[in-house]
Each structure stands twice: as C-alpha cells, then as structure tokens.
C-alpha cells in the first residue's frame, strides 16, 4: 500500500498545530517544553516527506541539524527549568509573575 505524500504533510501540519496550540494554552512548563519538541518533530516529518517527494537527499540531511539543535535546546531549557523551580513544588508558568507592566 502506498500513501500519497500529502497525507504525511497533513499529519505533520496537524502535529505542528497541536504543538503550537499546546504551548500557548498549557500552564505546565514541562508540557510546554514537550510541545516545542512536538513542533520540531513535525517539521522533521515535513522535511523527510518533501525530500521523498522531491527525490532530494538534502531534506533528509537537514533533519540531523534539527535533531542536534533540539537536543541542545533541551539541555539549556531543562537547566533553566530546574534552576527556577528548584525551590518550588510545581512547575506551572503562572508562578512567573514578577515581570509585568
């Protein structure tokens, strides 16, 4: 059975949207973080699908760059989360209220 590339692109777009909406509506910082990862992986799926459709290896190579950058972001992001929420029980973004105006 073969599936048209459009289906993969649609799936990627849906995943990206779920990630983007999740980032904006969820209040738990760790869940927001996972939403970013979901968005990046949706982009990876898009890259691979386009590479297959265009018959071009370049798109698949780009995925590696994205993976590396996502890993680096995870390291820094988790470090920031730990440093800020170490002294508190939960990890909700509503606790961040010092800066406003």
């Amino acid at each position: 059975m073969t599936l048209d590339g459009g289906w993969y692109l649609t799936l990627a777009a849906v995943l990206f949207t779920i990630g983007a909406v999740g980032l904006l509506v969820r209040r738990n910082v760790l869940v927001m973080f996972m939403c970013v990862e979901l968005m990046l992986n949706a982009v990876n799926l898009t890259f691979v699908t386009f590479a297959r459709m265009l018959d071009d290896i370049g798109g698949q190579a780009l995925v590696f760059f994205v993976l590396v950058v996502a890993a680096a972001e995870v390291v820094v992001g988790l470090g920031i989360i730990v440093s800020i929420f170490r002294r508190r029980g939960g990890t909700t973004a509503d606790d961040l209220h010092l800066l406003k105006g």
């Binding site: 972001e73 820094v76 920031i80």
Partner: protein, 511 residues
Amino acid sequence: MIPAVLAQVGGTRAAPLQLPEVEYSAMAPALILIGGALILLVWVSVVRRRPPWLWAAFSLVTGAAAMGASLWLWFDVRDDGPRRAVADALVVDGFSVFFFVLVSATVILAALLGEGYLRREGFGGPEFYVLMLLSASGAMFMAAANDLIVVFLGLEILSIALYVLAGFHGRRLESREAAMKYFVLGAFSSALFLYGVALVYGATGSTNLVSIAQYLAGNVALENGVLLAGMALLLVGLGFKVAVVPFHTWTPDVYQGAPSPVTGFMASASKVAGFAALLRVFFSTFSTLRLDWQPVVWGLAVVTLLVGSVLAVVQTDIKRMLAYSSINHAGYVLIGLQAGTANGISGALFYLLAYTFMVLGSFAVITVVGRRGDAHHSLDTYRGLAARRPTLAFAFTVFLLAQAGVPFTTGFLAKFYVVSAAVEEGSYALALIGMLAAVVAAFFYLRVTVLMYMTPASAEEVTEGAPPAQPRLRLPATTGVAVAVAVAFTLAFGLLPSPMIRFARQATLLM
C-alpha cells in the same frame, strides 16, 4: 530493498566522495570568537592562576581580533569582489562583512561593560564572556548565511547562549524568570521559523538562498500557497527575534529581567543579526515575490512604530521603557526593508549601526545607575542625576536624544535615511507614520532628560524612602570607556556622517 541499496552503494563506490572546500578565511571573525571562547573555557579549568581582570581583557583582545579580521575581509571584498564559500552555504559580501564589523564592535563594548558589572555583583568566572562570544559568533553566521538552514543554525547559536545569559544573575528571581520566558518564546519562534524553512524547501526544492531565488525567477507557480505560508512563517520567526509587533510580547519582560549588560548585548546583537537575516532573505531571495510581502511588512512596520512608541510612554521602569523604544526602532528598520530599494537597505544598515552604539551606551549608563544588585531601574532613580553625576547624565542625555532623532546625532540621520527611502518609493503614509511615532517617542526620551536635569536630587529620598546617605554611584573605568566610545561615535558621526554612510552604502548584497 536491501539489494537496491547495495547496488546504489556499489555504484557510488567508484566515484570518490566529494567534500566541499572549506574557506576558513570567509568565516574568520566568527571562528576567532569561537576560538576565544574555547580558550577561555580551557584556561579556567586548567590554569590555576586566574586574575579576575583576565577574562575581560581576553574577551577584548578576541573582539579586537575579530574586528581586525572583519576589516581585512572588508578590504578583501572591496578589492576582489564578493564570493560564496563553503559549498555556497556562506556568502562573503559587503553586507555580511558590515555585520561582522558591527557584531565585533558589540562584543568589544559588551565586554567593557560586563567587566564592571561582574565585579560589582561578585561573579568571578568567565562564563559571561564565553557565552557572549559564542552568541556573537552565531550572529555572524546569521549575517553571512546563504542557506536557510545556516540561518537557523546561526539563530540557535545566538539564542541558546542568550537564554543562559538572560538568567545569568542567579540570585535575582527576575533574571531567572526572564530566562524562562525568553526560552519558551524563543523556542516557539525557532520552531515557527523552521517550519517556514521546511515549507519553502518543499515549494522550491532547495534551502539555498541563491537556488531559491533562481527557482522563483524561472518558475511562476499558479498555486504557491505552500511557498507563501513558508514565507509568512519565516517572517514571523525572524520577527520574534527582532521584536516586531505583534511578536514582541517577550521583549519588555526579558529586557527588564535580564542583567543590564546582557540586555544591552541582546538588544544590539540579537536585533542586528535578526535584521541581517530578514533583510537578506526578503530583499534578495524573495525579491520576485515583493508584491506579496511588501504589504505585510508595511502593516508590521505601522503597528510596530505605533505600539512601540505609545506603550513606552506609560512605562515607569527605564529598562521596560527602552524595551518598547527598541520595538519602535525595529519599526524604522522595517521602513527601510519595506522600501525594497538599495537606498532602503543602506538606510536600514545605517540605522542598525547607529542603534547599536546608542543602545549599548544607554544600557551602560543603566548598569551603573542600577547599583549593586542591579535593582534600581525605576524612573525615579534618575531624578537629579545631573547634580550627582553630571558626566553620566550628559552621556545618557546624548543617547536619549540620539534615539529620539535630534539633529547632529547619528540617530537623526538614521531616521532621515529610512524615511527618505520610503518617500522615494512613494510610501508617504508610512513615512508620515514614522515621523509621528518619532514625535511620540521624543516625549518619553525627553521626560527622562527632564527628570535628570530639572528635578532636585533630594526628591529621591522623599519618593523612595531610601536611606538618607545615598551611596555614590561608582563608575568603573571600563564602563566609562564604553560610554565614552558610544558618545563619541554618536556625536562624531552625527556631525560628520559621510564615512559611515559610505560604509553602509558599500555594504551591498551579492545577488
């Protein structure tokens, strides 16, 4: 499946692997910055003797070396012409070298102003400088990128180091909160940018800027929805970085919470690099789609100008006020992009050049006035500053007036060039809105000046209930040098602008 793969491998075995030639000279300034950062890291973990002034001195040397390499590249490009390097992933033209010079200057000034700050706050290590140098190298890669994925990598090198820098002052909860907010929204914008890259790749078959431009010039797509969506996402992703309304919401919080020298560096390097990528991608690569993006940029410029200047008026914190003012400045650079002409681009470049020195100088003064703990940033702190520290108040006045666009400063010429580029293209409405925004902006810049000069110093004790014996503001020598350099630049090239204008004019894009 497997035999097919093996056959492919067997077929390619005959041909040797083609590796691209890597012209290290093309990215020499960025490599110098990375090398300097690595040497600092190794030094601190290997050598026992670590005088605290050493990190700043070494960063200054690194910045100066990067500046030297950038200037060498500048003359090289002028004599031998622009070229592409590293398998077309980078481009060395006047435009990218202009940004190399600008980022090197940012590094030097930020190192000067970090030294006094770190000493005052009691941070001994070289982390600040290491992160700053790495971040600046990312900015350089963004400016020289000739491939959307290289733009993305530069963006991430720049941003990831800045996320950490924003949370650098670990004892201040505000600083960590700023890091958190910057990180979440920065990661969000990177993902949007990347999805834009993927869509543009799908629509044109390449991420290389030149290949994209060639494809767009040769093919007229009847249904280019994917391409337009990709272009819009690129605009949003970079718009986040340069703080364009409506993607500016992180800016005031992060500018306020981050340590003052970091805010200065962020406001200059991050914005400059973001605009470098934005100008190159939209003006050069998507020039055939001008009719599609120009109205959008027009709209963004209008809301950015208006929101930036109007919301700055109601702020009571100087760093928040300057955050909105930097949003306002982004609007002026967008005016230059919207014009879409060579004059518009060189106007935008001159604006970024003038802006860098004004904003770094401003944050140098704010760092000093913030005092130990980096907490005194209410506008009331500036009451009667002229009586206590006349030179500091004078320098701040110069920066504020330059940002307001008063004649005989670089700020005036910067605004003049972008607005005249818009007028040349017939965008009268945009030019008018730009000038109106400048009038509104002049109000809040002048208000600080009035506070400094025309209110008595004793008012501070009354309003704040501070201890009667105000500790005298200490101006570290290095910060003093940074302020002096920024004032000299702003005034000297405000009076005699032709060298800098020629510099911006010659910084042309390789098409």
